[in-house]
């Protein structure tokens, strides 16, 4: 008999108090000709059923590489995972065979990519691409799978799904293509959905449609959602909790309300302070000075120290661990108390 994903992993519930998905002290390096790129340096986060975790950070901070490691789609080499665990319902995915991993990928944990146009195959109809999920993973016949594809397109609210199922990706607008990507990703009822900047290339009007759709799908199915973004507005709108990444590390994690009220890391605070506000019109915007770090040559001690307004001597030499502020909050700053008590602009 063919192995199903249920044979590889428990169908429901985790083991004990194990969250749905737990990334634990993950390290990812790329061995390139220019040197070793330390893209992910000890990232930990968890997501529970029905929960939305937002992963926030500027480009190059390691958000996508972490997601690719969870999905098991990193090219190894050049990528190497020297340390860390990725536990799905208690099972470390990194210890599974590639064959067992394919039962998790796309079925139990699915992903929506940043760029819907290049993630879809231009030479197949969207119906064929969506129905492929059912043919390959559920062994359905062509016509059965096509019927399911139309249902899914309806579910992600693509108008006239019955006719449009025969159209090619380039015949759809950016927002509609993102809906097709979402349809493919939820086809097999995954328990975790990773959305990597799903609305970055889209207009705010379309972004609002897509975010509403994701929230509805999540409510229906209690998926855990990992939303990767750099948009502080989107995060405030939908996240339950946030992990802020900088130079391949989590520098702060917290429930969404806490972090907007009082950030506990100077980088998070800098990001929040640099949002233009009405009462600041006519004044200079607050700007984090300096440039994002070079991952080939990370600063010593705290990676944020060259840009940090609160830097002290020990920051240059001692890398701060992720200090526990409370059961649900952490900050990788030696001076998180001062930041918490500090004034917001």
């Amino acid at each position: 008999m063919k192995k199903t994903s249920a044979d590889v992993l428990p169908a429901v519930g985790g083991q004990g108090n194990e969250p749905l998905l737990a990334v634990d002290n993950l390290h990812v390096e790329f061995h390139t000709r220019a040197g070793v790129v330390r893209a992910v340096n000890g990232v930990s986060y968890t997501v529970a059923p029905g929960e939305t975790l937002a992963v926030l950070g500027e480009s190059g901070s390691g958000k996508s590489v972490t997601a690719q490691a969870i999905m098991g789609i990193l090219d190894m080499p050049p990528a190497v995972i020297p340390k860390g665990e990725i536990r799905f319902k208690g099972t470390d995915l990194l210890k599974l065979s590639e064959h067992d991993r394919t039962h998790v990928r796309g079925q139990r944990i699915a992903m929506i990519f940043q760029d819907a146009l290049s993630a879809l195959n231009p030479v197949f109809t969207v119906g064929w691409q969506i129905s492929e999920m059912f043919r390959v993973h559920r062994g359905m016949s062509k016509s059965e799978a096509m019927k399911k594809a139309v249902e899914l397109m309806d579910r992600v609210r693509i108008p006239a799904a019955k006719q449009r199922v025969h159209d090619y990706p380039h015949q759809f607008s950016g927002g509609m293509r993102q809906r097709i990507m979402i349809a493919m990703s939820i086809a097999l009822d995954p328990e975790v959905l990773i959305a990597d900047e799903p609305t970055t290339a889209l207009d705010v009007t379309v972004q609002a449609q897509i975010m509403e759709l994701l929230a509805e799908l999540q409510r229906e199915s209690q998926m855990g959602l990992i939303l990767i973004t750099h948009d502080l507005g989107v995060v405030a709108d939908v996240a339950d909790k946030i992990a802020v990444m900088y130079a391949g590390r989590i520098v702060e994690n917290a429930p969404v309300y806490d972090i907007y009220k009082a950030p506990a890391h100077p980088y998070t605070k800098g990001l929040l302070d640099s949002i233009p506000r009405v009462d600041q019109k006519g004044h200079e915007l607050y700007a984090i000075k300096g440039l994002p770090p070079n991952l080939l040559d990370l600063p010593t001690g705290c990676a944020f120290h060259p840009r940090c307004p609160l830097r002290q001597e020990n920051c240059v030499t001692d890398a701060p661990p992720l200090y526990e502020i409370s059961g649900t909050r952490g900050s990788a700053c030696h001076y998180w108390r001062e930041v918490l008590d500090g004034e917001r602009r």
Binding site: D203, A208, V235, D237, A239, P276, V278, L285
Partner: protein, 338 residues
């Protein structure tokens, strides 16, 4: 800081249509894409006009026509009181000098094989009168300093700079000919949040220093509000609303503006469950075949008979203090970002 006096730029009934062709060997024009379809506004010295609207509504096309990179189908663009379409020879050259552009993508808009010095100094090749050959290097170094880059880096190549620094190079190039007007087409969209604020501050500082007037095109509505004195909202090639920043953001009168503003996520989770949101359905119709009457009517929740028959003109409507193009315009308080 909008001030009165003579406008530096006057745009009247500007139209740009692109031919829509069918067939590969025997091209036959079967229609036209109405990218810009009747836009009028003034821009004053030292003023910033923000332009917002969904992808494909005609913002970049408008920018290109203003820059005389595209010929308008009809309508006029006056710079310093003179119609650019009528100008020839030396006069046209002087007028072109006066309006410069900063583009969206700092990664592709700079020639990778040219040094920074050559990129910034390139406009002097055409406009030799601004900087005689012997002066150029010094001029370019001054410009590097003005935009916050190290003047010693004049011989470096674009790939040796970060995205934010490349955008500064683009700005320095835009300043080279000492224009009065700079058209910024999405100048910070490709940059990281932490770098965006630096570039916006730079643009504002330069405006104060040199009395520049900006056309500022961007999709981040809170950035546009921060930098703009007035804002024009575009939909399918037309302005649907035009007014001071506070008028547009706090008292929008056009349903499209109201929907656009309400779609912007507020960067504060407090009270997010209670937030009122107008979610527009579908995409904008094709600019090749815009709806009759009001172009927004296919997505408008207030549409009536008359909206299909009669085009609403951009004018001051009863109960509002600024221009809007809706038969049923009424101001509406929106809770929105920044």
């Amino acid at each position: 800081m909008a001030n009165g006096g003579e406008p530096v730029l006057e745009v009247r009934d500007l139209v740009k249509h692109f031919p829509l062709n069918q067939g590969i060997v025997f091209k036959k024009q079967i229609g036209s894409i109405k990218a810009v379809d009747g836009v009028s506004f003034d821009l004053h010295r030292g003023e910033t006009l923000g332009i917002v609207g969904e992808s494909g509504c005609g913002k970049s096309t408008l920018a290109k026509v203003l820059m005389a990179l595209e010929r308008p189908t009809s309508g006029s663009v006056k710079i310093g009181g003179r119609d650019i379409g009528q100008a020839r020879g030396g006069e046209l050259k002087r007028m072109r000098r006066n309006i410069q552009m900063v583009m969206q993508d700092p990664y592709t808009s700079l020639n990778p094989r040219m040094t920074v010095g050559d990129i910034i100094g390139e406009p002097y090749e055409i406009h030799t009168e601004v900087a005689p050959k012997g002066d150029r290097r010094k001029k370019v170094q001054e410009l590097l300093e003005v935009v916050g880059l190290n003047p010693d880096h004049i011989n470096r190549y674009p790939h040796q700079f970060s995205g934010g620094q490349r955008q500064r190079i683009g700005i320095a190039r835009g300043l080279a000919l000492q224009p009065e007007i700079i058209v910024c087409d999405e100048p910070v969209s490709a940059l990281d949040v932490s770098i965006q604020a630096q570039v916006i501050n730079l643009l504002e500082r330069l405006q104060n220093e040199f009395g520049l007037a900006y056309i500022f095109i961007a999709h981040d509505l809170s950035v546009v509000r921060h930098i703009s004195d007035r804002v024009g909202v575009m939909y399918l090639g037309k302005f649907v609303e035009l007014g001071k920043d506070a008028e547009i953001y706090d008292r929008p009168a056009h349903p499209y503006t109201q929907a656009l503003l309400s779609a912007v996520p507020v960067p504060d989770p407090e009270g997010r469950e209670r937030r009122e949101r107008i979610i527009l359905q579908g995409d904008p119709p094709s600019p090749a075949n815009p709806p009759s009457g009001c172009r927004f009517r296919t997505r408008c929740w207030k549409a009536q008979e008359i909206c299909a028959q009669e085009e609403p003109l951009l004018q001051i409507r009863p109960g509002t203090g600024h221009l809007s193009a809706c038969h049923f315009a009424e101001t509406h308080d929106v809770v929105h970002a920044g």
